[in-house]
Amino acid sequence: MDEKKTPLLEGLEAGAWPSFVTEIKKAAKTNPGAAALLQMLEKSYEEKRGHWKHGGIVGVKGYGGGVVGRYCDIPEEFPDVKEFHTIRVNQPAGFFYTADKLREFADVWDKYGSGLYNMHGSTGDAILLGTTTENLQPCVDELSEIGFDLGGSGGAMRTLSSCVGQARCEKACIDSTGIMHDLTMYYQNEMHRPSWPYKFKIKISACANDCCAASARSDLAVIGTWRDTLKIDNAAVREYIANGFNIEKLIRKCPTEALEWDQEKQELNVCGEECTRCMHCINVMPKAISIGSERGATLLVGGKAPVVKGAMIGWVLVPFIKMEAPYTEFKDLVDKIIDWWADHAKNRERISELIERMGLANFLAAVGLKPLPQMVNAPRSNPYISWSAEEVGKNG
């Protein structure tokens, strides 16, 4: 390959943090697409602007999405990134891989694409970064042979994501990875054939620490919790204290004043009714305090980024739901939510924006959920209550 200079980017190869420039360079050694990308990026760094065009729909057989079409706006100058589409490959739950699986994956991609990846995309996919229209189909075909399917894009169920959960975490109240895999299989059609007003995302964190940032970034967040009382092993508590742990500080930081230290008995007690399962005490004393036994999840609806009506953090829709295979209650609810949304939403209107527009109470009625104080920080403060004709008498 004709090696042009990329002095600006080279500036990003120094330093302790691993360099994406170095990575692109590695790929560029053998891959013309990657080499062109480097050159074009250098140009962007010089000009302070991107060089990708708007628009351009591409696809593969049997799928309505999973591929993001991308064309450079100066194809004359950079013919090798004229077409540079990404393939969204659905990641294994929990982002678990084996060396073999990864190598197979790289083999396919080296054959058909740039040899560059985002491991992983923000939604969770293993993103294959840049190939031509021509190579899409064979690449996807070969990926399917090694067991990798496409993720979501467009007005569809998006690739799900979860925290590592019970696979490696003592705090997991639900089987987040198992749930993710089950739901992913269940929603294959909804994921692969966009037919909704906009994207719909589900993410699963197995406890309120929310290690996959579900409540901020998913239309429906599944967050593990428990309904009884957390467990305290007081022998372990005393051990922590013997090792210098400051129990007073812990108690002060409990947001609900649910914890009490009995100095005499050297015993930490919790009032289960007060505890809001914030995880704090469990986080700082994992050996001594652990999650309750009656486990399930809280569902939050509406998390999303700012576009268009402002960012939202998902709000409580179902305070507690059992999450046991085959997750029928959950799936039924999701069906109802999607139905109502698909029926009423405008183009590019996320579920939270629709609920905001139509009213939470109306939404709850439509999906058959009872209004609960857990759903709100506080009841309304304005006196603008609506009453339906059925609820009231006839004006005398």
Binding site: G15, W17, D149, A167, H192, H280, A305, V307
Partner: protein, 353 residues
């Protein structure tokens, strides 16, 4: 026709035996050294996870190299984290130190666990997105070069600190809920190519796409007009109508936001809020941005109490004190003027001078 809808590989076939055996049965964990997690199960089984930094944008060479390492020390088992770090899953404790030595030798950065600055959740940038106002990878690399000691645990912090970078206000990631986030923003009103618009623009959709109602149909030109007084440069119209352009190398740049969080630990999730309205793009290293981030981290680390995330710290001391301590100017830009602005106005005489 090729088969479809068969889904991702089943993770159950990709997890090491120790995880299979102790699935849902972990008892507790400790952090024996920075970057390493030791999970102990109820059966007494011990799994070590060694976390290393990744640039996220990686090459096949990288993929093969970490595969080789995993094979050598971990029976081939590894995973990625939700913040794009790599975790080597060590079932055989005797392999732990050799693995660490090997990673050190290869200049992998081990860290990101516990009270530390972990990897930056970031987005495509100029590398791949048509909407990119800046380059997320470049900013991420520049920031993390400065933050490396915070990642490895050489420098200690009072609590977790999560940084995110998004190349436009779509915020693909969790910028809106990060301790520090860097978001690409425009500062100019989009330009309408009337001729093109008259041909390809779906006028009603375009008008509807504007959150502030700044767009009006222009029957004369069969195009649309944008009211500059109402426009807040969000770029949403450019997604709907390709005849509208907002890219502007002179005025594009980034904004910096602070105090968001996602976890429900102690306090509920919080939004990130505007700290610095604008810094010009200054590739390749965005020194003004990295300085600002470093400064923010230092002021926080120097003032927060143990366990206080950025937003919790600010919540305790108040924003007026935050601006004082960080010596950042408070401007008209910081005052919300979008749909729910009035909820941000201070309705109490409780404030600090």
């Amino acid at each position: 026709m090729a088969r479809t809808d068969f889904g991702p590989p089943d993770f159950r076939e990709l997890i090491p035996p120790i995880i299979k055996e102790n699935y849902g049965n972990w008892k507790y964990h400790t952090v024996p050294r920075p970057g390493v997690l030791k999970h102990v199960s109820h059966t007494g089984a011990v799994l070590h996870s060694v976390r290393v930094a990744s640039p996220r944008l990686v090459s096949s060479e990288f993929i093969r190299e970490i595969s080789d390492i995993a094979e050598k020390f971990c029976g081939g088992f590894l995973r990625f984290t939700t913040r794009n770090n790599v975790e080597f899953l060590v079932s055989d404790e005797s392999q732990l130190q050799p693995l660490i030595d090997h990673l050190d030798a290869k200049d992998y950065l081990i860290g990101g666990v516990g009270l530390s600055v972990s990897n930056v959740v970031h987005t495509q940038g100029w590398i791949h997105c048509k909407s990119a106002v800046t380059d997320a990878s470049g900013i991420t690399k520049s920031i993390m070069d400065e933050m490396a000691d915070y990642f490895t645990g050489k420098i200690q912090v009072p609590a977790k600190l999560r940084i995110a970078v998004a190349c436009c206000v779509n915020m693909c990631g969790a910028c809106h809920c990060s301790d520090i986030s860097i978001v690409g923003i425009h500062r100019s009103v989009p330009v309408v190519n009337d001729e093109l618009a008259s041909k390809i623009c779906e006028i009603p959709n375009t008008v509807a796409s504007c959150p502030t109602g700044a767009i009006r149909p222009n029957p004369k030109t069969k195009s649309v007009t944008i009211n500059p007084d109402k426009c807040m440069m969000c770029g949403n119209c450019t997604v709907v109508c390709p005849a509208i352009k907002i890219m502007d190398p002179v005025n594009d740049g980034v904004s910096i936001w602070v105090g968001g969080k996602v976890a429900n630990a102690r306090t509920g999730p919080m939004f990130s809020r505007l700290a610095i309205p604008f810094i010009s793009n200054n590739p390749p290293r965005w020194p003004e941005v990295t300085d600002a981030v470093k400064h923010l981290v230092e002021v926080w680390a120097g003032n927060a109490r143990d366990g206080e995330r950025m937003g919790e710290w600010i919540g305790r001391i108040g924003w007026e004190k935050f601006f004082k301590l960080t010596d950042l100017p408070f401007t008209d830009k910081h005052i919300d003027d979008f749909a729910h602005a009035k909820n941000t106005f201070r309705s109490t005489t409780q404030f600090k001078f």
